[in-house]
Every structure is written in structure tokens, then in C-alpha cells.
């Protein structure tokens, strides 16, 4: 007999996930408690907020604004810093067996290497390199993942010393994702995470005559970015062999199926929490299972990139 559990249980880089749904970086992931909340809502794997060497309070508000079909946000990488962050991971690990991805952010290879040293001493299962935050350009310029050379360099520097598998999170805001996906793979990444927020975008309040976000610009997430996320996962998965975490605007089981068909191995849900509640993970697990059941598939792997190229 095939059940929800058997259909959705999946292997990700050697870890067994109860469900293929992931809590992505920066969404709810500040504390052990918020990671736990996602797990209890049906997420099969969780990611911490992107951690930096020093604590960051992030940008002043407004840090987020609703737009057509989603949000623009510029949190500004608020996080308690790597030292405090890995303590939250330990706290989480006391209460849960679910794998944790530690997301880290730096602006040059050395920073990433230092962060990796901290992570090596932590209980994180995977390390994710945020090479693609679009919301700190005033401080740091365009994201590292705009350049294949830099992507390869950073990923290699980290994989050289990391004790756990390395995931590269790439930016959607590039003319050719294939080059960056290949660069990350060549650098030694064990998986890709696609996409970080889009754009960034901007909103102006016409009565006040000012940009709405304090940071002026903010990356887009939510349903409106899904077509671009699906496209980039499709393109990246056509050139790399490593698994891809597909995310960007996933709201329903149908969206998750679409992402799997595009070539993703597992699926992230972030902004969807706003639209369908924390319970979105359980809802999407059920919807995914129902789809597989109705179409007589035994496992999500069977629909990965199905037919698409035929």
C-alpha cells in the first residue's frame, strides 16, 4: 500500500525527509521555536535565517510591503549573529530530528569560510550559502551570485573546509542562470537553492512622494514570482546533476507538482505562509499526495521533470 508517508518521504543528500517541503531561509527562521513551529506544521526540512558574523538589526521599517501577487521585502539580513544562531540550532536539535540547513551570508570568500568554521562546530546538517540577497546592495553592491567566477570561488572555498554538504542559493536576477548553476556545481556544491527574491522591486507612495521601503528596494516573493522560479529551476536542472531546492511563490500542491516537473527535488514554501497560514505545509503535503494518488504515481520522484522535454 502506498500512503502519504511513502509517497512523500524523500532522500535529500543522504538525509531522509518525511516530506519534501522546506522552510526557506529568513522566513520564520530566527529562533529554534520558529523552526519547530514549521516542523510541527508539516515541513520536512528547515532553514535558519541567514546568519552573519556579527549580529544585524536589519533595515529600519518599512521592511516589507504588499504588491500585486506578493510582497517586496528588505529585512536587511537581521539576525542575532552566527554565535547566537548556532545556539538556536542546538536548541532546535534537542527537540527535533528534522534536518536543519544553516543559511549564512558574507560578502567575500573569507567571510564565508569563517562562518563555515562556526557551522562545522554546530549541529547543522547542511550549510546554505546566501549568495543572492538583493536587499543589501546599498552596503555591498550587486549579489555575489551575479558572477559565475565568484560563485565558483566562494563555493569552493567553503566546500574545501565544510564538514557537511554545501548548498548554493542563487539569485534569479541574472541573464543566464545556467552559467551560475554550473559554476556552483563545479565549485563543489552538493545542491542548489533557487530562487532567492526577485528584482528587487520598488514601490513609491504617491501621496507622501517617497519610496515605501526604508531600503528603497526590496526583493519580490510570493505567487507573482512563480513563473520565473519555475523557469530558472527548469533551466538549471537541465544543466546540473546536483539536486535543486525549488521555491518561489509555491502556494498549493499543484504548484509543488509544477516545481517538481520543472526539475526540483524538494520544494520550499515561504511567503505562502501568509496566504494559507503556517498550516500550508500540511495542506500542500495532502494536496501533493492526492495528486500522486489520482494519477497513480507511487512517489514524488516519478514526476520529476516528467514528459517536459518530450
Amino acid at each position: 500500500m502506498f500512503t502519504l508517508d511513502s509517497r512523500l518521504k524523500t532522500d535529500f543528500l543522504g538525509s531522509v525527509l518525511k516530506t519534501p517541503l522546506l522552510l526557506p531561509a529568513g522566513v520564520m527562521g530566527i529562533s529554534a521555536s520558529s523552526l519547530l513551529y514549521a516542523v510541527q506544521s508539516g515541513a520536512g526540512i528547515v532553514t535558519t535565517k541567514s546568519l552573519t558574523l556579527q549580529p544585524r538589526k536589519g533595515h529600519d521599517g518599512p521592511v516589507i510591503s504588499p504588491v500585486e501577487g506578493g510582497f517586496i521585502n528588505a529585512m536587511g539580513l537581521c539576525n542575532p549573529g552566527i554565535e547566537f544562531g548556532i545556539k538556536e540550532i542546538s536548541e532546535f536539535k534537542i527537540k527535533s530530528f528534522v534536518p536543519v540547513i544553516a543559511s549564512v551570508f558574507a560578502t567575500e570568500p573569507e567571510g564565508f569560510v569563517k562562518l563555515t568554521e562556526f557551522i562545522n562546530d554546530s549541529e547543522a546538517d547542511f550549510i546554505e550559502l546566501n549568495l543572492s540577497c538583493p536587499n543589501v546592495s546599498a552596503e555591498y553592491g550587486v549579489p555575489l551570485s551575479s558572477s559565475p567566477v565568484i560563485v565558483e570561488e566562494v563555493v569552493r572555498a567553503v566546500t574545501d573546509i565544510s564538514k557537511i554538504p554545501v548548498i548554493a542559493k542563487l539569485s534569479p536576477n541574472v541573464p543566464d542562470i545556467k552559467l551560475l548553476a554550473l559554476a556552483a556545481e563545479k565549485g563543489g556544491a552538493s545542491a542548489l537553492c533557487l530562487i532567492n527574491t526577485l528584482g528587487p522591486g520598488m514601490e513609491i507612495d504617491i501621496n507622501i512622494g517617497r519610496p515605501v521601503l526604508k531600503n528603497i528596494f526590496g526583493g519580490m516573493s510570493g505567487p507573482c514570482v512563480k513563473p520565473i522560479a519555475v523557469k530558472l529551476v527548469y533551466e538549471a536542472s537541465s544543466v546540473v546533476k546536483i539536486p535543486i531546492i525549488g521555491l518561489g511563490g509555491i502556494m498549493t500542491g499543484a504548484d509543488a507538482v509544477e516545481m517538481l516537473m520543472a526539475g526540483a527535488s524538494i520544494i520550499g514554501i515561504g511567503t505562502g505562509i501568509y496566504y494559507r497560514g503556517m498550516d500550508i505545509y500540511r495542506k500542500v503535503n495532502n494536496e501533493l499526495n492526492e495528486f500522486l494518488m489520482k494519477k497513480d504515481f507511487k512517489h514524488i520522484d516519478e514526476i520529476k521533470r516528467i514528459n517536459i522535454d518530450g
Partner: protein, 266 residues
Amino acid sequence: MDKRISLRIDKIVEETSSVKTFCFSSPIDALPGQFIMLSDLRTGEKPFSISSSDSNGFSVTVKALGPFSSGMFAFKTGDFLSIRGPFGKPFDLRKGSILIAGGGVGVPPLFFLARELKKAGTEVVFINGAKNSDELIFKDLINELGINQIIMTDDGSSGKKGNAAEGLLNTLNESDFDAVYVAGPEGMLKKIADIKTDTYMELLIERYMKCAVGICGQCAVDPSGIRVCVEGPVFNQNMIRKLTEFGVYKRDAAGRKKYFEKAFSK
């Protein structure tokens, strides 16, 4: 309202030298206990409880504290502010006889609550607490509702001497109530939440907020990770007691734990 909007300030009421009420004449679909995110698009964006709302518009009541709230005092009628919301789970309006206890900026959302309860024909006792008579707010508005108002000031400069928590304890001992609603500083809330009582009780708590839509995780509280901006800011006594961080610490803008001063713990 799904989108951010900018609204003209239509009226400003000076409640005290450090508290102003900003009124907007666009209606908003809000219930007592809910809050909006308010911004000048220059200094920041902060959550403020809705202090009244009906088909003519709504208001928020701001106490000058730090850069943002003090900055609000420079705004004049006709200026525009950027608004998102309303957000959060409102008070669950019970029937019967109701006790309300508010301290400081906990009073505005409770005034809105009292007005709605009164509209529904419910009997309400309102304990209005402040440091001193100068800081007392909404006294006349609450009287106008025609409900029993018990004023408490720390220094006894108005009403009885003592804080809202003490006033609540005394009143609860004297009479039976069907529900108790409380808002105010965490020290006060903590004392009240610790009261052993069978009376249904809801408390409005504050945590640092950024997104207010439940995705950034900033306001998630230990140990369950529930979000004050979505599952709160109103919690019942049972839920509050399960929050291990309540009265002990809260997280700052970076997500670090900041412990309250001794005074707050049991």
C-alpha cells in the same frame, strides 16, 4: 485592506503632553485588539493598536517614547501617513459582566473594546491605570460610554493609589465577572497572568514586529514559535502561561534575547 495605503490625518487629539490620538476618516475593517503598522516613510514603521474604529474612520493613540513615536508628534492634520493592516487576532468578545484593566498605552485598544462591548449591551467595569493624573488617558471618553471606570495612579494623584494590576486583583475579589481583558506593560501583564482564577481572561502583549504578516519570524515567541502578529497579540491566560519567555525576555530587532529587569519575574 490587502495593500498598503496612505491616509490623510484628519484630526489630532492631544491626550496628554506625551500622548496623541491620530484620526483618519477612512473606514478600516478592524476589531478591538487588532493593530495597524504605521509609517512616515522616513523614520520607521511600528505597530499601534487601533483605539477606535467605525464606519466614519479609525484612530490610533501614540505615546512619545523613542525616535519613531516622538517623530509622530511633528505631524499635522492634512499630512499623510502610510498604513498597513489591520493585523492580528482580536479580543474574543464575551457576554455577561466584563472587567477591563489597562495601563499606559494598553488603554487605547481596551477603550475600543469597551465601546464595542457597550454597543452590544454588555456591562463593563474599566480599570484605567497610569503613573499619575497627568499621564491618565481616555478618562472622559470612558465616562462618556456610561460604564463604571476605576482610576488607579501609582502616586494616587487621581483615583485610587496603586497600579492597574492591583486594581484588577481587588475588583476580581469583590465581584464575579464573565471575562477579563487586560493590556499594558509586560510587568503588569505578568502579575495578572499569574493570578489563579477561573474567570476567562485575555491579555494583549507586545513583541518587536517587522512584517506583521507572520512570515519574518521576528515576533515568534518561545517555546512554540507562535507569532504575536498573527496568533496574537491577544492571547488567553492559558496560552500566555505556556509562553516560557513571557515576563522573562523578549527578542530585539536582531533576534537576540533581551531579559527584562528583575522586577518582571515572579
